[in-house]
Amino acid sequence: MLRPRIIPCLLVRNNGLVKTERFSKGKYVGDPINAVRIFNEKEVDEIAVLDIDASAQGREPDYSLIERLAAECRMPLCYGGGVRTVQQFERIVGLGVEKVAISSAAAETPQLITSAAEMVGSQSVVVVLDAKKTRGGYTVWTRNGTMPTHLEVAEAAARAQAMGAGEIVVNSIDQDGVMRGYDLELVGQVRRATTLPMTALGGAGSLNDIGCLFETFGIMGAAAGSLFVFKGIYKAVLINYPSRTERDDLYQRAYSRA
């Protein structure tokens, strides 16, 4: 049976790992390659590495870092940050990355989704929707949460699917780093708008938050940053991940969904 996925999401800035709160601050939490090695030992389902400055600064992805990450990962890797062209998709997939994520470029030039899917296949094209709550619903923001778009999150998800994306990641800007649980209303809006595999990011503060997500939506991805890099109320850096038994319990909560 297909299992839901529990995914550590690592944010990269200046070659180091950071963890943000509501897309700002950015506490240094360690070295990306070292973190991947620890997550290898913990046999994580999948890992996501997002370069949070690349698009905002308009620069190229750091190919040498991506290559080292891909070689080190004993689990599937999703890379995002600074990807704007089909050639970049081709190069990154060629380095051995299973999935490439785009957010700013997907909002600004959605045709990129189609041309990338034709080249590397839909299964490797991930669209990330960074969403912020507004009075009426949820709006997509780009450039690491600094620029609002006119896109409603559900509309953006449906469009990404129509253009050929293989997965939607919905990331709550409001819940980022807050550790009070996923925004289930936001996730629900995206879930109803697409039949693609999807992953929720932003807000997980406990394994129970992941369990609640699975219970509500069934088989999907649950990504988290803070939960897997911090321990305790003072947020000491300690890389962690649920044990196999804990994960099996969480999977059961997905299967139990009527």
Partner: protein, 201 residues
């Protein structure tokens, strides 16, 4: 085989940790020196076939696999390339295992399903094979694909996986075999499979 596609480095890393010699072969001469081949793949079918054609390795590959009978393991799209053709593209495949590649939701009586099939799933061997030795008790592998290998001969389907119905997740015929999942990204189960290929197949 290093033809600019797929995670050759991760595969080599697995073999390095196992102490099994493995090289990244990007020239016909380097390829011809090998006793076994891994054909990795990520991406769309036509793109992969095009990259293989452009690599200059195709003749050497054909000679080894069909001439010398060198064992070859296709991974993901590398497995799909072993088929005659794919619904995902228009180019011809290698045609080493009789069958065609089709979309998972085009199977008979298919229900609507989320595609790609993405994540960890069970692989159940349908017969004894050296490739799957020791992997018959709850082995899980990472899948990321929308297309599957539709074998013409059921005996070529060495293992099955269930995603809204069963499909062949491991195929094999003679010296040619392929896996739909990513063993290089499937923790110890994947390591075991790659070791089996190197030592037992």
């Amino acid at each position: 085989m290093d033809y600019g596609l797929g995670n050759v480095q991760a595969i080599q890393n697995v073999y390095r940790r196992l102490g099994i010699p493995a090289v990244l072969a990007s020239t016909p001469a380097a390829l011809m020196d090998c006793s076994k081949l891994v054909l990795p793949g990520v991406g769309a079918f036509d793109w992969a076939m095009t990259r293989l054609a452009e690599s200059g390795l195709r003749d050497a590959l054909d000679e080894m696999v069909t001439g010398r009978g060198t064992p070859v393991l296709g991974i993901c799209v590398g497995m799909q390339m072993l088929a005659r053709l794919s619904d995902e593209g228009v180019l011809e495949g290698l045609g080493w295992i009789p069958g065609e590649v089709r979309r998972l939701d085009s199977r008979e009586d298919a229900v609507p399903m989320a595609l790609p099939h993405m994540g960890w799933n069970d692989v159940s061997p349908s017969s004894d094979s050296a490739l799957l030795s020791g992997l018959d008790g709850g082995a899980r592998f990472y899948f990321l694909h929308s297309y599957y290998f539709d074998c013409e001969t059921q005996a070529h389907a060495l293992a099955q996986t269930d995603y809204h119905g069963a499909f062949a997740s491991v195929v094999g015929a003679g010296n040619v075999c392929g896996v739909q999942f990513h063993p290089e990204k499937s923790h110890d189960w994947g390591v075991r499979l790659l070791r089996n290929f190197a030592e037992a197949v």
